[in-house]
Each structure stands twice: as C-alpha cells, then as structure tokens.
C-alpha cells in the first residue's frame, strides 16, 4: 500500500499563488476557502532576514490531531495516509479546526457566489453541489484525481491526471508528489535529504507533507516564526 506524500521546495517557490488558484478551480471551493494557500512571511532577524513564500495545505499527518478530536468519526485516515472528511458524518462542530496546528480546515456554513448579485455561475452550481453545507472542508491531496488515475493504471506523481492539481499546475515545479513508501520515488529521495523538514513537528503530527528550505548557503540555522493571518 502506498503512502502519498508531498515535498515543497521553498527555494523554488516564487509566490505566484498558482497552487491556490488551481486548487480552487479543481475543487470548486467557495469564497474564503483556500485548501491550498500561500502565506508570505519573513524569517530570521536583522540583519539576516529573508522573505519566504510559504505554500500551505493539509499536511496529511500520520498522527492527525483533527482525526482524534472528531466526535463523529467524520474525519478519517485512509490506508494510503490521506486524511479526509466524510461530509455525510460531519456535524460542523469545528473541533478539528481548533485542533489543527496548520489552519488547514475551513468551515463552510453556506456557499456564497463569487459574483454577488449575478448568483451562482454554472461552474459554481456544479462544483458546490458536490459539497455539503454546514460542514468542514479540507485538502485531501485531490484524492478523486488519485483514485481515478489509479483506476486507469496511472501513477500519481508521475502522470499529470493522477496528481494533485496544485502539483501539476506549479509553474516553478516547486511541488513534488509521490509514494513515500517507495524508496526510489522522487519524493522519498527528496525527503531523505538532510535539509528536508516537516512543519512544526513538535506538535507530534508527523506530516506526510515535507518542505525543502528557502536558503541554500547554510551557515547558521535559526528557527524563525511565521505569524498566521488567521486567528
């Protein structure tokens, strides 16, 4: 059984928000919901300061706090490591949003139109119909693309159709996707590098999403704070 993982190279990311937009296009998320997002931040302290574009999405934790706190078992972990919400079971208590350290979950009370008075566009109508109201949404590595691709005999991470939309659409090729159980996969090779790191591993989440650092000339390593915009 594969365990899907992602690697995001912060040095390559140019902050174009292509992942954010392709995610919205792929998953038809309503306004305010950005399952993949980019936060621009500064790290370090004067005089060693660097601006970093930090792409964020669900980290697909091996030890997801959201799953543990879910009172209805709506949040589940698949055998391939993908954490997803079974919307039928979700009652919208938002405890998972409280528990997630990465702000990767969004409560959709109602699906508002992007273009106000014009009402829902045909695309919004079709896309929103696939999701419930009063539930929590999260990134699930585009599991519909992975499952459909696997059914056609494609390889996620290699074949575009079977790979998460944010990965295929990254014009800087800063995102990699594949099977972390396979030691020869591109993602496994990248994760094996010494610089690869998980975001805030001290929360005990053990994410399947990994990062490569924004700097290469390593003279001093210094933990830096990323301040979130959301509360």
């Amino acid at each position: 059984m594969p365990r899907w993982g992602m690697v995001i190279d912060l040095l390559k990311c140019i902050g174009c928000y292509g992942c954010q937009m392709s995610c919205k296009a792929e998953n038809a998320t309503p306004p305010g919901v950005t399952l993949a997002r980019v936060e621009v931040t500064e790290i370090g302290s004067y005089p060693n300061v660097t601006r970093v574009n930090l792409p964020l999405l669900c980290m697909q934790c091996n030890e997801p706090p959201c799953e543990r706190v879910c009172p209805t078992k709506a949040t589940q972990i698949r055998e391939d490591g993908i954490v997803f919400v079974e919307e039928e079971k979700c009652i919208g208590c938002k405890y998972c949003m409280i528990a997630c350290p990465y702000g990767a979950r969004y409560f959709v009370e109602d699906t508002h139109a992007y273009f106000g008075e014009q009402g829902l566009t045909p695309y919004e109508k079709a896309g929103y119909a696939e999701h419930g109201k009063g539930v929590v949404q999260k990134c699930d590595y585009c599991r519909h693309r992975i499952d459909a691709g696997l059914a056609q005999g494609l390889t996620p991470g290699v074949d575009r159709e079977a790979t998460p939309a944010c990965v295929t659409n990254c014009m800087a090729k800063a995102r990699y996707f594949g099977d972390l159980e396979d030691p020869n996969s591109e993602v496994s090779q990248l994760v094996a590098r010494a610089q690869a790191f998980q975001l805030s591993p001290e929360f005990g989440t053990d994410p399947n999403t990994h990062y490569l650092p924004a700097g290469r000339l390593v003279v001093a390593a210094e933990p830096a704070n990323v301040v979130h915009k959301k509360g």
Partner: protein, 308 residues
C-alpha cells in the same frame, strides 16, 4: 502585525461553557447545601442549576453546522472530548433531572420519603457536576498547538469559576423566588450569608489562579497573553472581567457581610449575582478568544554572508 483573536469558537461556545459551568456550580452548591441541612436553599439551587445546564446544550447545538445531527457526536468517545462531553452532560442532566423532578418539583414527596435514594442521587449529581465544570478545560486544554489553553491549571480555573458563578446564580435567583412566591426564610438567608464568605474566598483564589495562569502561559503564548493584557481584548479583560466580574462582587460581598447580619436583608446578593454571572461569561469568552494558534516553526537555514 496585530494579533487576531481566535475566531472558530465564539460567543455561542462561550455561552455554553458559561451556562454549563454556572448550572453545574449551582448543582454543587445545592448538594452541599442539602448536606448542611439548608433544604429550601438547596432546592432553589438545584431548580436553577439543572435547567441552566439544559439551556447550555441549546447553545452548543446552535453552534453546529448541522444541528439536527447532534446526537451522532457520541460516536468517538475513545479519543474525542466532545463525545465524552456529551456523555458527561447527559449524565448530569439525567441525575440532576431526577433530583428536580422527584425532590424540587413536581413530585416533591418522592425523595423526602427515600432519604438514601436522595443521598445517592446527590452524590451522583455532585460527581457529574464537578466533571462537567472541569472537562471543558481538558476539551480545549489538550490542543497543543494553542498554547494559551494548553495548561493544567485551566480545568481548575474553570471549576473555581463555575462554583463562583453557581453561587452568583443562587444569589440572583433566591431573592426573585422569594419575592415571586411571597415567602421568606431566615435559614436560607443564613445560607446565602455563608455563601457570601465562601464566594469571597473563591474570588480571591480565582484572582490568584488567573495571575498564576497568565504567568505560566505568557512564556509559551506571549501573543495570547498580550492580547488580553494590552491588546484588542484588554478593555474587556481589565474592566470587564477583573473589574466588574471580580472586584465589584468582592466589594459588594464584604460590604454585605459587614453591614448585614443576614445577606437577604439587602439587595446585595442580587446585585453581586449579576456581576458574578457577567464576569463568568466574560472569562469564558476571553479565554476562548485568546486561544490563538502557535506560530508555525519553519526550520529554514538562512543565508549568512561570510565575514559580514
């Protein structure tokens, strides 16, 4: 950048925490009161506390995205404190509901005749009430990525505040019951007077607990502590919670204890009760709002120009 308060769980959850705490606190006061022989006061406290807990669940359900499915929240008691909470509150509502129905009203005679059953039910009520006040501190306290809540003092703080607001509820409701029913009871007045001194101690302990709590968390959650002490929420914290919710009841209670032999001779308990209840609600609201996420740590090596 200005720190933005936590915005996932807002006033409805604060109202739930407040009413459940106040109700459970009043149940504790009622049980202890009955053990001490203040039967009428205990009935009033129970008659107030159990409906307050019942009302609290309304706010909890109202906050859900899909309120109609609220009963499915029992499905994951193995790890979810919301599931466990549903069982805890249900247990309190069942045992407390039986107390109210069989002792306070409407079949008052049943438990008068069966003293042992009454004591059993009261002990159950006491246990479930204490658990109801404290589990909410665990519910949010286990969230390690929100360091302002992630503190073992939180359940204790919630328990102290719950008993104090429960006393506040009894202060508020007892004079009203007496004036509506046109009765008076010197024994109940004596109990309320004793409650005043108990609450005075509780408020002082609560103030010390708040100080200790902030001292403990300010290291790991400086943004959250700053939010309360000097940020967006500082007005509500200093003026609302500490001023109106703690200091004013202390002054009223001291005055009442000094001036009157029996508390119910004046309207002091009624007024103190209002301030205690408001303070209890504000405390829940502020603690919720200060529970912001910890910044993400990016272990990124940064460029350093050699010789710079």
């Amino acid at each position: 950048m200005e720190t933005v308060p936590q915005a996932v769980w807002r006033w409805k959850i604060a109202a739930y925490l407040f009413l459940a705490g106040t109700g459970a606190g009043a149940v504790i006061v009622g049980v202890v009161g009955d053990f001490l022989g203040y039967e009428l006061a205990a009935k009033i406290a129970m008659g107030f506390g159990v409906p307050a807990v019942a009302l609290s669940t309304v706010f909890l359900i109202m906050d859900l995205g899909r309120p109609a499915k609220f009963l499915t929240a029992m499905r994951h008691p193995g790890t979810s404190w919301i599931s466990r909470g549903v069982f805890i509150i249900s247990a309190l509502l069942v045992s407390g509901g039986l107390m109210v129905a069989l002792w306070v009203w409407p079949f008052g005679g049943v438990l008068e005749a069966h003293a042992d059953l009454r004591v059993t039910l009261e002990i159950l009520c006491l246990i479930f009430a204490v658990v109801t006040c404290t589990y909410t501190g665990i519910l949010i306290g286990i969230v390690i990525s929100r360091p302002f809540w992630n503190n073992p003092l939180l359940p204790i703080l919630f328990l102290i505040s719950a008993i104090s607001t429960g006393i506040g509820g009894v202060f508020f409701i007892t004079p009203l019951v007496f004036s509506v029913l046109g009765i008076s009871s010197p024994k109940t007045g004596e109990f309320v007077t004793r409650l005043e001194s108990v609450d005075l101690v509780l408020l002082v302990v609560e103030a010390m607990a708040i100080y200790l709590y902030l001292a403990m968390v300010s290291d790991r959650a400086p943004e959250a502590a700053g939010l309360l002490l000097k940020g967006k929420l500082s007005g509500l914290f200093w003026g609302g919670f500490l001023g109106a919710g703690l200091a004013i009841p202390v002054v009223i209670e001291i005055t009442s204890l000094v001036m009157h032999e029996s508390a119910l001779q004046s309207s002091a308990p009624l007024v103190a009760g209002v301030f205690l209840l408001a303070g209890g609600f504000l405390m829940r609201l502020l603690i919720l709002a200060a529970g912001i996420r910890s910044p993400l740590i990016l272990r990124t090596p940064i460029r350093v120009r050699p010789g710079f």
